[in-house]
Homo-oligomer: 288 residues x 2
């Protein structure tokens, strides 16, 4: 992570016996506005798509990943250019990013007006939210040719924490990491927002021309929400392992997309919530 | 918490020596659409304000707290009625809530079109985000008449966890809790979304006619982001204690509003980031 991800703040540290005036490392949180430019040469339009609170760094990946996982664009070739724009600002921060689409690319802006969650005719419910994602996702009904050895899974949190340096300093950053089935770490991205960390990771994978990510394992440093499983599904990920708990709707969505969802991956244990057939655990003793 | 906050899911539990087919408790995550009805009798309008992924329960508090902390309404008397609306849905869930304002109430809908973060003429930056909140907040420049004994603070996480029953079951819920300066627990609200837990808490406090919450302590079960400090500031809270880390912009906002912000409140320790004068630690040994 760039040093611009951290700032230092004078603090008063208190425990039961002493107070100390010292300094603490904080994860930086700043708004990022994502703007989209699109349309034919004689009729270019610019639209504000989103403002997200993120940790500066990998902003272009964040913008690319966000547009893709939210279904606004579907192919990397739709994107002609991504650059920071400098709007007059007292602090002169790089907090606006402009994504210029190629002239023939047509963004799906229906998804920016309201959330995915309510694009279904069903009204507002979990089932409707899942169906809405099915209508925009490029990758569906994941195949079963990605098999992971259970002993590999136990090692992933340690491999991540070795690379998650900013978290160790600030305690304030979420991480998303991409692994090979043999446990090789390919990518790590960190952010104060867990959805941003995953968008940065998927944006980087798009830049590397790695999609769909059918042969990889996605590791999430915290809990697995609906939104994170949604973004993973949009990138074709077949195996998600979270250090924390999944929500009910995260499990439903993973089940619907035939994604293997693992939770509580820590302390040499884990739970498999969906699509357990991808996890090779044949050497284990089975109890009921 | 209502039992509707939890569901059970068959899982495969794996550790280094055994696999077990068992069941796990999951925190329920479902969309909630907040709709607003307003205007004079002869010209009533209805507008969709937000869709949030939340844990069912305390939905009316969530809607009230959200509208208030986002600056869309400023007084409880603006609200005539809050009720679930039943939209035809295969699952028949109570996932839409309608807030009807009194005829003379004028909602500030500018904040719904784009986020707070960019309402400043400065463009997009942290300082602009803070200034934007200053323009809509009812309670500003907190007074210094709320003093907390440091020994009380150490006890709060234990008092919260005794009441946070769903978290213990699922590991998947965030909590916000409101305490008196003497450590008495007033309110706890839980949700898969940390912003929802705080909106529910503030909505309940509004219903109790407790605002501004200048004499209380807000405890957050996780990290302190800009968004959470924003919501607390909107309710006039003067002391925020988080079990996790704060972000840079959370600290800046707390400092600007003269809010005492405490982080890493666990294991008999804590850090004071801003407005340390409210914390009484005179009996402690001071080191440098």
């Amino acid at each position: 992570m760039a040093s611009s991800s951290i700032t230092h703040q004078p603090i008063t540290k208190v425990n039961h016996t002493a107070i100390t005036q010292t300094s603490d490392a904080l994860a930086i949180e700043e708004p990022l506005e994502i703007r989209l430019e699109f349309g034919p040469k004689n009729n270019r339009q610019t639209q504000n798509i989103s403002v997200t609170m993120r940790t500066p760094g990998n902003d272009k990946e964040l913008a690319l990943g966000f547009l893709f996982t939210e279904g606004i664009i579907t192919h990397q070739k739709d994107v002609a250019k991504i650059e920071h724009s400098f709007i007059a600002c007292a602090e002169n921060k790089e907090n606006t990013i402009l994504v210029s689409l190629s002239e023939d690319a047509i963004p799906n802006l229906r998804n920016t007006e309201r959330n995915f969650y309510t694009t279904s005719s069903c009204g507002v419910c979990g089932k409707g939210s899942i169906n809405a994602i099915r209508t925009v996702s490029v990758y569906q009904d994941q195949q079963d040719d990605n098999f992971i050895n259970a002993t590999i899974l136990h090692e992933l949190p340690t491999l991540l924490s070795k690379h998650q340096e900013v978290f160790a300093d600030t305690g304030g950053l979420h991480a998303s990491a991409l692994f090979m089935p043999n446990g090789e770490l390919l990518l790590v991205r960190e952010d104060v927002g867990r959805h941003n960390a995953l968008d940065k990771l998927i944006g980087a994978a798009i830049n590397n021309n790695w999609l769909p990510l059918t042969k990889n394992i996605l590791l999430l440093s915290g809990r697995a929400s609906f939104e994170l499983v949604q973004k993973a599904a949009m990138a074709g990920i077949t195996v998600i392992a979270a250090v924390g708990a999944p929500s009910s709707l995260a499990v439903e969505l993973a089940n619907e997309f035939n994604i293997t969802l693992i939770g509580f991956l820590r302390n040499e244990r884990f739970n498999i919530y969906t699509a357990a057939h991808r996890i090779l655990i044949s050497d284990y003793e089975t109890t009921h």
